[in-house]
């Protein structure tokens, strides 16, 4: 691989041992995939070490002791517990205590302790064409598609990109890999693409078809920031999609033709109302009228506007969450602070809901494996209603609960009645 004189200096220890070792890892990775050279990344979204995985936090603490610090702005992804109200949420003390140690280590390394899957909602909005490296499949696909920044699906080496500011020029950083492969003709009426969960269903239906390829949507109705987020999160759940184009809503291609860069689609698929209904059915195992005990909103993590919506729902209806139901509105700590200032958090908590930070049900102590380790009963949730296909897909296996997908209002109504509508 060709190195610049500065990269050579870094590799030879001119910037210290930590950077030299980190760059060696990045070079090995690049050479394994025949990268011609390295690029400078301007931003890193980092896989915060979760205490539900054995050995990870310990490894972080050891690493932070070396004094290595990040070279570029770096945000941290979700943790295994809410750092403040873990106890109220039923998290065993050992899971929290170990997890809490990670915060000081991340700070020592110079990271922003965002602990979220939606750093873009905190203002981390890398410009179109910029190179970044990110973990968290829903953030990766949003950065690539909606913003037009360039990232691959980051893994554990993300740490060493943060330390060096370098990443090999491979995968989705290259123009030719950003070309569309599958044309998705969306045969839905605008009113069938209204709620974020409609976009989540669309993503789930298409992800199954395209796997790890690049779908091009010819129609998306009038998507918002959060509906594009929902679409991407689901595409990266049923498939491992890291990039889609939906002209004119996404950053790169102005037209469908442009998205294919002059090539013909490898496959063309039609998505109709029946494809969407099938997606809902596939993830819904709770019958109407059945009791439910959990409602999750905020997968991916809610922004301030979404929390405002929930608060307004409770304020205007005056209703309370059913005593048999836990309602989690998942977000990050910075957004919760803003929501508290606006008075939203208070309204939701007074109604019996939780505004949960840093984590979500899937990443939490409620995972079957973590429950077994800490002597908690399994499953921690019997029947969950959510508006996110990603959440439903993962809690089903990792928590072992029944699931149903409904739009946000219906989720809130289910939380109030304790039954599936």
């Amino acid at each position: 691989m060709k190195l610049t004189p500065d990269e050579r200096k870094m590799l030879e220890g001119g910037y210290g041992a930590a950077k030299a070792r980190a760059l060696d890892y990045i070079i090995q990775f690049g050479e394994a995939f025949d990268a011609e050279r390295l690029v400078d990344v301007i931003y890193v979204h980092y896989p915060a070490e979760m205490s539900i995985y054995k050995g990870l936090v310990e490894d972080l603490l050891e690493y932070a002791e070396t004094g290595a610090t990040v070279a570029v702005p770096t945000t941290t992804s979700t943790l295994a517990c809410d750092l403040e109200q873990w106890d109220r949420l039923g998290c065993p003390a050992p899971v929290h205590d170990l997890q809490a140690k990670a915060v000081a280590a991340h700070r020592k390394m110079g990271m922003a302790c965002t602990y979220t899957c939606t750093p873009q909602f905190l203002g981390y909005v890398p410009p179109k064409g910029s190179y970044i490296i990110s973990v968290e499949s829903s953030a990766i696909i949003y950065f690539n598609s909606v913003l037009g920044a360039r990232t691959n699906r980051g893994g554990h080496l993300t740490r060493y990109s943060a330390i060096t500011g370098k990443y090999p020029l491979i995968g989705y950083l290259l123009d030719e890999n950003r070309r569309g492969t599958h044309l998705i003709r969306v045969k839905l009426a605008p009113e069938e693409l209204r709620h974020d969960c409609d976009y989540s269903a669309l993503g789930f239906a298409v992800g199954r078809i395209v796997g790890s390829q690049v779908p091009i949507f010819d129609f998306l109705g009038t998507p918002t920031q959060t509906s594009l987020l929902a679409l991407g999160a689901a595409l990266a759940t049923s498939g491992s999609v890291a990039l889609f184009h939906a002209p004119p809503h996404t950053a790169e291609a102005k037209t469908v033709d442009e998205a294919f860069q002059g090539a013909k689609p490898v496959e063309v698929h039609e998505i109709t109302k029946s494809s969407i209904d099938a997606a809902f059915q596939a993830m819904t195992t709770i019958a109407p009228g059945d009791e439910i005990d959990f409602v999750t909103l905020g997968c991916p993590h809610y922004n301030l506007e979404q929390i405002r919506y929930v608060a307004e729902f409770f304020r205007s209806t005056g209703e309370k969450v059913n005593p048999g139901v836990r309602l989690w509105i998942c977000t990050n700590r910075m957004t919760k602070q803003a929501a508290a200032w606006e008075g939203y958090t208070r309204i939701i908590e007074d109604a019996g809901g939780f505004v949960v930070c840093d984590t979500c049900p899937v990443e939490s102590h409620m995972r079957i494996s973590t429950c077994r380790e800490h002597g908690l009963s399994v499953p921690q949730i019997r029947a969950m209603v959510t508006d996110s296909f990603k959440m439903a897909r993962y809690v089903r296996d990792l928590i072992g609960c029944e699931t149903a997908i409904r739009d946000r209002d219906s989720c809130l109504k289910a939380a109030i009645s304790g039954r599936m509508s």
């Binding site: 394994a32 995985y53 050995g55 080496l157």
Partner: protein, 139 residues
């Protein structure tokens, strides 16, 4: 007895030797292996109950979650990692990351079908830099 040498793509550098652990199906580090012992726990796996520690793993491809990289790292901390990994198909980024962080050689796409050619348990030497895989063939 004669030395057999097969060329593969050297993905991650380094030399290692160990008894071959030949698995005929795709392997998932997350779920198929016990994280404390390195023993294969996947029910019905052809080597269920066998430890991967110190073995040269030869298998078609890696499957499953990106958590596989983490499992390899945890095993390496306990010194229960495989000596090397040889994949029949192109390597996915996650297993490459795992191999780098554990410092184990990784090779892919050998010129010959090693799943058929290498008897399980044979001592195999691999070189991730040159891409060479070598073992003694009984004549």
């Amino acid at each position: 007895m004669a030395d057999r040498i097969v060329k593969a793509k050297g993905m991650i550098r380094g030399e290692a030797a160990g008894e071959a652990l030949v698995c005929h199906k795709a392997f998932s580090f997350l779920g198929d292996v016990d994280m404390d012992t390195g023993v294969i726990i996947a029910r019905g796996h052809e080597h269920e109950g066998v430890s991967i520690a110190g073995r040269v793993m030869i298998y078609p491809e890696t499957k499953g979650s990106s958590g596989g990289c983490i499992v390899l790292m945890v095993l390496a901390k306990l010194d229960k990692q495989p000596a090397a990994i040889v994949l029949m198909k192109p390597a996915d980024p996650n297993i490459v990351e795992g191999a780098i962080l554990c410092g184990i050689p990784l090779l892919s796409e050998p010129d010959e079908d090693l799943l058929a050619a290498v008897p399980n348990g044979t001592t195999v030497t691999v070189n991730g830099t040159t891409g060479e895989i070598r073992w003694r063939k009984a004549t």
